[in-house]
Symmetry: C2
Subunit: 125 residues, 2 copies
DNA sequence: GTGGGTACTCTCTATTGGGAAGTAGCCTGA
DNA sequence: TCAGGCTACTTCCCAATAGAGAGTACCCAC
């Protein structure tokens, strides 16, 4: 198991430019770990959802940010947008195979935080 | 292994309020997955660093954001600040035991993104 | 012809982030 | 003697970004 950034950079295929500003890894990492990106991906870990469902599932997100986040994640091939040209519109969002792999690696992190968040925060009011 | 948000919420100790706005998990998650939070934690995965080293290690960070990020992560008990009251000042930053556990769960995610980022982005110029 | 349903998109304002200069006090070199 | 450097921040200002809320498109039921 990789235990540090140094080790990660030493793996075959990587070098010291990993995570420098503007490199592809940083770009995708920024999208995925953005405030709403994480929550949208988590919501989709449950399976396919429609726009309105996502809006309700991701507590606090505005319509603008939901649209923007979905477009970004779709651009990164993590989310699949399946639009049925009906009236009223019907659009379904789901994880791609890549998205599924990524979420599988995100869930342990989120689970650890969920287990430990309470004792970490300073004097929750 | 937990494979979805639904399953995570079904685990003992959790419920449907997990990840609602303002809940401790969301707060810590926001800190940890903020643009600079991830990169600072990754930099510290290599071991203890001084301020100037971190500034150079985290490509593109401003002094303002480095200070803010370090204070936030320290408040979350993820980073330890060890200041020696000398002139000129000498301050060392390292991961706490919690921080180490968290980074152990973050590295697989980052490694996966590093391996796949190139083919995910649309038409890299 | 009016209202409902869905998925956006636009506009305006509040918040956030970057850059650069300022701060503290001792120590070194000229 | 005294300017300048060392280090870890902090502050200020302005540009970029995020968010709230209203607007749009289109057809159907009433």
């Amino acid at each position: 198991m990789t235990v540090s950034l140094r080790e990660l950079r030493a793996l075959p295929g990587f070098d010291d430019t990993l995570l420098t500003e503007g490199c592809p890894t940083r770009v995708v990492l920024d999208h995925v770990t953005s405030k709403w990106g994480v929550l949208v991906l988590l919501a989709l870990s449950d399976g396919t959802h429609r726009w309105g469902e996502l809006r309700r599932a991701v507590d606090g997100i505005s319509e603008k940010m939901l649209a923007q986040t979905l477009r970004t994640l779709e651009g990164d091939s993590l989310v699949l947008r399946d639009a049925h040209p009906t009236i009223p519109p019907h659009v379904e969002y789901s994880l791609t195979a890549s998205g599924r792999e990524l979420v599988d690696r995100m869930l342990p992190l989120v689970e650890w935080i969920a287990r430990n968040a309470d004792r970490m925060l300073p004097a929750a009011p």
